[in-house]
Symmetry: C2
Subunit: 545 residues, 2 copies
Amino acid sequence: MLGLMQDRPLLISSLLTHAETYHRENTIVSAPCEGGIVRSSWGETALRARQGAQALARLGVNPGDRVATLAWNTHRHLELYFAVPGMGAVLHTVNPRLFAEQLDYILNHGAAGVLAFDLPFLDLVDSLAPKLTHLRHKVVLTDAAHMPDGRDDLLCYETLLAAESGDLVWPAFDERTASGLCYTSGTTGDPKGVLYSHRSTVLHAFLCCQADGLHLSRADSTLLAVPLFHVNAWGIPYASAMCGAKVVLPGPKLDGQSLYELARAEECTFSLGVPTVWIGLFKYLEDAGIDPALLPFQRLLIGGSAAPRALLQRFHDAGIHAFQAWGMSETSPVATVATLLPHHRELPRDQQIDVLARQGRAMFGVELRIVGEDGADLPHDGSVTGELMVRGPWVTSGYYGGVGGDVLDGEGWFATGDVARIDSEGFVTLTDRSKDVIKSGGEWISSIELENAALGHPAVEAAAVVGVAHERWQERPLMLVIRKPGGSATAQDILDFLAGKVVGWWLPDDVVFVDNLPLTATGKLDKKVLRKQYINHLITAETGA
Amino acid sequence: MLGLMQDRPLLISSLLTHAETYHRENTIVSAPCEGGIVRSSWGETALRARQGAQALARLGVNPGDRVATLAWNTHRHLELYFAVPGMGAVLHTVNPRLFAEQLDYILNHGAAGVLAFDLPFLDLVDSLAPKLTHLRHKVVLTDAAHMPDGRDDLLCYETLLAAESGDLVWPAFDERTASGLCYTSGTTGDPKGVLYSHRSTVLHAFLCCQADGLHLSRADSTLLAVPLFHVNAWGIPYASAMCGAKVVLPGPKLDGQSLYELARAEECTFSLGVPTVWIGLFKYLEDAGIDPALLPFQRLLIGGSAAPRALLQRFHDAGIHAFQAWGMSETSPVATVATLLPHHRELPRDQQIDVLARQGRAMFGVELRIVGEDGADLPHDGSVTGELMVRGPWVTSGYYGGVGGDVLDGEGWFATGDVARIDSEGFVTLTDRSKDVIKSGGEWISSIELENAALGHPAVEAAAVVGVAHERWQERPLMLVIRKPGGSATAQDILDFLAGKVVGWWLPDDVVFVDNLPLTATGKLDKKVLRKQYINHLITAETGA
């Protein structure tokens, strides 16, 4: 027997309409690529999103069609976040930092007829366009004054909007309709597209607004330091519409100074981004002699990759409640959030930071388990590690176009490729990507824990640990270290420092000092490159000794 | 094109499984009818709910069947909140304070085969049972030691549970499946059943856990002073499972002393209930000479009927953030919540209380409008009043069994029967039930605003305003007042007091002092009775003058 409740779909357009109705005046601040600051509001965003949807329809975009973007965090990109899914089309955000061949592949695979992009990406688009067989329209996210001369092939976003009335009633449709498409930068095989739905997006927004979730609220002014092309900017644009929060969009400038100044000017209470961004912020503050206590944030989410404990510590020293969360493109992305339990509030601050440095606990809707190599369940005892499996209404069921085939097991679980342990309270601690796990004589060594331990050494700026070939143990850990300017630690110093902090047989077989470490297009350590480069390091070393 | 996200239904059983997994140890405190305090946990609640579902299946309960309760707020009733919908059956909570003929009607209409009840309701059940033709099993919510002697017709809840393993996997089914049934105590016609679904219940729980909603969190210890038979206890049991909050269930004792002592003992941070309960609490504190600042609550929701501003003020004087929300059985029930906007935080406290004394703003998912008698939209300008219309995924689409026919208009709006104004920020202020509106010469007078104004007079304990017959104006307001003990105001004193507070033509034509006011079974003023009693009051008075 079915209940007798209204059958109203969960749609992204209703998020925007809610913001327009109840938070009309609250501010959207944007630092677009052409410079300056543009102040608008949820009311204007709603109007311009309707105009955008009308313009896209006029360009021939139909429900189900993809609209691609290569763009920074600006008000115009935010408007497309609502305009495209609102009309029933699919917003395909593309990371402009990817390699050209990845961009080719992703844009062709997504097959958008319209590509909207920021002016600084014009050369990139020109180089890509000849291979984009589906592409019919190129829209520059700028105004007429900034349009390149003599380019009849380009459309101007502001001109398109100005031609429309905004007098549109958002269509209603099945809440399972596709709304967004993000490709994961696959480390093996081609990139794969995760296809979000209106339902998954709205449910995920509820998570972000929960008191024990990200606690996003109307009182927040959120500095969006995670790009709109990075897994829906972690769902914050949609959650912000749900609660009417102020959104501050830094445009292309994610350097420490720009973020600091914008956060101060807009009295940002909350921000979120990957560790690299925050390391850059603290470096700026240090160089400029600015007291971190002047940062206006109350809360700060570090995600995307495991946050060094020292980074969390620096925020807490500045009076900012920094915490971690875990997720991935395939989980919309937020799956776990590190929140203090009531009994943690009694602990000394250092121990609280230990809690917040873990990847957190599953929010309602997300189911987690860890399994061994045989697929059998492993206990949640805080010591056993296994591959993390996830299930829930905002978790992927398969990739766009069927790439990768069936990705769920018989009971609907998705294998994350992350290796983790889960403690009795449900806190997840990631220890590795399954492909990065170091298998030494059949036992697993966690590269992440070695790296985090090394980051506690005062001379270490960055560290990466990879498994490299070893004649006896098949694989042994090798640590690459970037020293801080003026830092003078030797390999033995580092090993001595690590000795009490990890079990003896985990200690790296060697420590190599480097000037930089390779990063992927999304700013994560590219261990594939390191492994390739150093695969014979221990063998050569031994042979050469 | 549909998205590629997992098709996992939103089910009440997943709320409980989440609580069991992540909040296993957190406490459920219960004061059952047989006396004493029972402490259990979300883990035990989950186990016992599974045992309960097994026991109900053994009694022949099938998916879709109704299981009725006549019970106070205890751990056993809470367990049924999960056991019954978890197995796909429908929990039909019945208000034991209703009149016998209403109980007859409701229980027969719901047609539950199993009725679970607290021991104090045995006589009531015995008097009802002969007429309940569908009733097959009567389950007493107690243990073997407290079972009545010589009653082979009764089953013991604890004995039923003890016979079961709890080894049950909750079934999966369509999230639109019916989960709960509550009858509204109709003031016209027969009571009508609102049939909730798993989907509506889970979405409503998300609302309760939002930072800008009820802010329910793991850190809360919630004194559930609203009965479990009153619109799902405003959704708190389900929201508490979602976030793992501690729940404190006061059993049959809702008097001021019991609530105060339980709240103190369990360090309750949050509570919610109707105004009557809180008026009783303050009366106890006053009589006992207890400083209200000793109340442990941080937040307190007053709902069910409009809260007198003076009551909110008393809580705020005690350092407790009391606020209003609005909803009804047909809205699950929470639709609007009075939360301060950032700019309100600058206001003096008195003006903040004015904000919190309104019925609040719609949460995401709830759409509101006000319409005139012709059904046309009225402006949200804070002055025009009209009937409040509501739409959303946790709003009713029709009553159980088709009673009342179509209840939605062509665009899916439900007419609430409440009259309200909505200001430009979206704050709703209820001015009347549409049936209580006083139409004086074609203009509307708000009985609620007159009552609230009168409650500001130091000698007024309670006030009710009804429209009674008037030869010239068709209807004019008559005010009934209960004086405080020792209060000596005259009718003219009250009218003088009101004079500056409402427009002149709203002033009641007479003020009558009474010893008590009739209440409905849910503790609201029964204006139907008052109107009947006083309908000729002004006509008689004039004739007799």
